[in-house]
């Protein structure tokens, strides 16, 4: 029996490692290519260098695209936090029956394919009093709707876990106003859920391409649009860009996982 169990464990471990290596291989290839001085007709690169990273991180256009992506994503998430947190509080505390309706509403951004909704947005905001196409504002609003399901679900689960009503009632009876109870008791207990939701949404939005390309394109070049526009330049720079982007998202995802583990 123990021998059979060891064989099973070995099989499972092998499958997991093979899968991991298959997934890692293109990334490792890209990393190696981004560090290679040149790599064309040989199995291994002829030498290693950091010059592509230096070139990339000293290019103004890249830095601007990076900054724009940061600005749009942070703006969308600030908007999401400011709107969703009070909304969730009101729904959970005063109108719990509306939660079912909200669960349907937050799925709507997923019900329409991005290309289709982008076409609709182009028509709606292309001209007239709300002409925003080509500006970061339309992207921010659009990203807000994309982030809504992630944010809403994560914070809603967090709210249900802390028994909001009892905490609010206890705080009220101890003399706190609703605002004091929300700020001193509820909000600190949502901090971790909120941070995890924000970081995961950020990682997702930072890599978003379809809306960015269709709604603003080169008029407000974000990181993914820049990457697309640079596809014909040297592969070493592109590889350095992909690895930089991957590393940035990796750190954010790790941070989200780390914060989630710390939850009690």
């Amino acid at each position: 029996m123990p021998a059979e169990r060891t064989a099973h464990a070995l099989y499972h471990r092998t499958v997991v490692w093979v899968l991991f290596l298959i997934l890692l291989l293109p990334l490792a290839g890209t990393l190696l290519y981004s560090l290679a001085t040149s790599w064309s007709a040989t199995i291994l690169p002829s030498g290693l260098t950091l010059k592509w990273y230096l070139a990339l991180w000293s290019e103004t256009r890249f830095l601007q695209a990076f900054g724009r992506s940061l600005f749009v994503c942070v703006g969308a998430l600030v908007l999401a936090t400011v709107l969703i947190l009070p909304l969730l509080f009101v729904i959970n505390y005063h109108f719990p029956r509306l939660d079912a309706l909200m669960n349907v509403l937050i799925l709507l951004p997923f019900a329409v394919p991005p290309v289709v909704s982008a076409v609709g947005l182009l028509q709606l905001y292309g001209s007239g009093p709300l002409a925003m196409v080509g500006t970061p504002w339309i992207l921010m609003g659009c990203y807000f709707t994309v982030a809504l399901p992630f944010m809403y679900r994560a914070i809603s689960n967090n709210l249900q876990a802390i028994q909001l009503r009892d905490l609010m009632d206890a705080a009220h009876l101890l003399g706190a106003s609703t605002l004091q109870a929300a700020l001193l008791v509820v909000l600190p207990n949502l901090r971790k859920g909120l941070l995890v939701a924000l970081l995961l949404s950020f990682s997702f939005l930072f890599g978003e391409f379809v809306f960015a390309n269709l709604l603003v394109g080169t008029q407000y070049e974000t990181l993914q649009v820049y990457l697309n526009n640079m596809r014909n330049s040297t592969g070493h720079i592109n590889s350095a860009l992909v690895i930089s982007y991957f590393f940035f998202v990796l750190v954010l995802t790790w941070l989200a996982t780390f914060l989630n583990k710390g939850k009690h």
Binding site: A170, H172, L173, G175, S177, Q180, L184
Partner: protein, 329 residues
């Protein structure tokens, strides 16, 4: 002199009445229990007194002041919840100090009062712990300390022991009663557990379907139930319809009868009209199921020695004190 007076209190949700025409008064320092089955309206009544749920009609007077128009913050009432409702982001000390912080009590005196009340609930060494580092019993003691520290005029306890295991529950109920008596605190306790109600209370208000069906001290409630519900809810009364009661007693009985299981005596007698049909050992008590005159009865007998145990099928004679027969509506 009544300290709390509830007059014609009503709570309705649309056409459904949770409770109606509730009226009672409580003297200062009394420990009152609202006892009743789930859904009888006892917790809603408590929440109405706390101000967490609005009332449809009626008045709640605390020391002469009408509480109904006041927000919960202004009522000066402490409350302990079944779920503890401790603030997870705060330590035990911070949880207990929260009410004082809201009252803007200076740090020095606040610290002293927190230490004092933590000592009272024997948790002074746990001051820096977080709620998730405490057991259920400890959490409930912190919740009690938190509600006591502001020195409320009235303490409300909403099934505070229901989520705890039997041993801790027993210890904590003794501790709650002791603290309540020490502080002379007027307390309203909600439970569905008759043992808790009987052992802790000065008086018990028995509730059913939104009404107080009987009130009185533990002895009165236990020995003189006013109706079939009270007899069925308190103790393990044998409830007999008038027909069964007439057959058992051999005389006409106009109303239903309630007989306490321990008020029936059993004597082994081969010619007796009763037969043991089953028994179970409850520790110091043996609970028999007896059939006599076609009527099934539960009889509790003190377990004094193994020789006392009657086997199933044993013929027995039943002895019932006439004074222990309760006619109920």
């Amino acid at each position: 002199m009544s300290f709390v007076t509830v007059e014609n209190l009503q709570k309705r949700y649309g056409d459904t009445a949770v409770f109606s025409d509730i009226a009672f008064s409580i003297a200062k320092g009394e420990f009152i229990t609202l006892l009743g089955p789930s859904g009888c309206g006892k917790s809603t009544l408590l929440r109405c007194i706390a101000g967490l749920t609005g009332v449809s009609a009626g008045r709640i007077l605390l020391d002469g002041q009408d509480l109904v128009p006041l927000a919960p913050q202004k009522r000066d009432i402490g409350m302990v919840f079944q779920s503890y409702a401790l603030f997870p982001n705060m330590t035990v000390e911070q949880n207990v100090a929260f009410g004082l912080r809201m009252q803007k009590v200076a740090t020095g005196p606040a610290r002293e009062r927190v230490a004092e009340v933590l000592q009272l609930v024997e948790l002074d060494t746990f001051a820096q712990r977080y709620p998730h580092q405490l057991s259920g019993g400890q959490c409930q003691r912190v919740a009690l300390a938190r509600s006591l520290v502001t020195r409320p005029r009235l303490l409300l306890l909403d099934e505070p022991l229901s989520a705890l295991d039997a041993r801790i529950r027993k210890h904590l109920r003794e501790q709650i009663r002791q603290i309540q008596q020490e502080l002379g605190l007027t307390t309203l306790f909600v439970t569905h557990d008759q043992e808790e109600a009987l052992t802790m209370s000065d008086r018990i208000f028995l509730m059913n379907k939104g009404q107080i069906v009987q009130s009185g001290d533990a002895q009165a409630l236990y020995t003189a139930p006013v109706n079939a519900f009270a007899a069925g809810f308190i103790g393990n009364y044998n409830l007999l319809g008038s027909e069964d009661a007439s057959r058992l007693l051999g005389r006409a009985v106009p109303r239903s009868l309630a007989i306490r299981p321990e008020a029936i005596g059993l004597l082994a007698d081969p010619g007796g009209d009763g037969e043991i049909t089953g028994h179970s050992l409850l520790g110091n008590v043996i609970r028999y199921r007896v059939r006599a005159q076609g009527v099934s009865l539960v009889v509790d007998v003190l377990n004094r020695s193994a020789a006392d145990l009657y086997p199933n099928g044993q013929r027995v004679r039943l002895a019932i004190e006439p004074g222990e027969l309760r006619e109920v509506a």
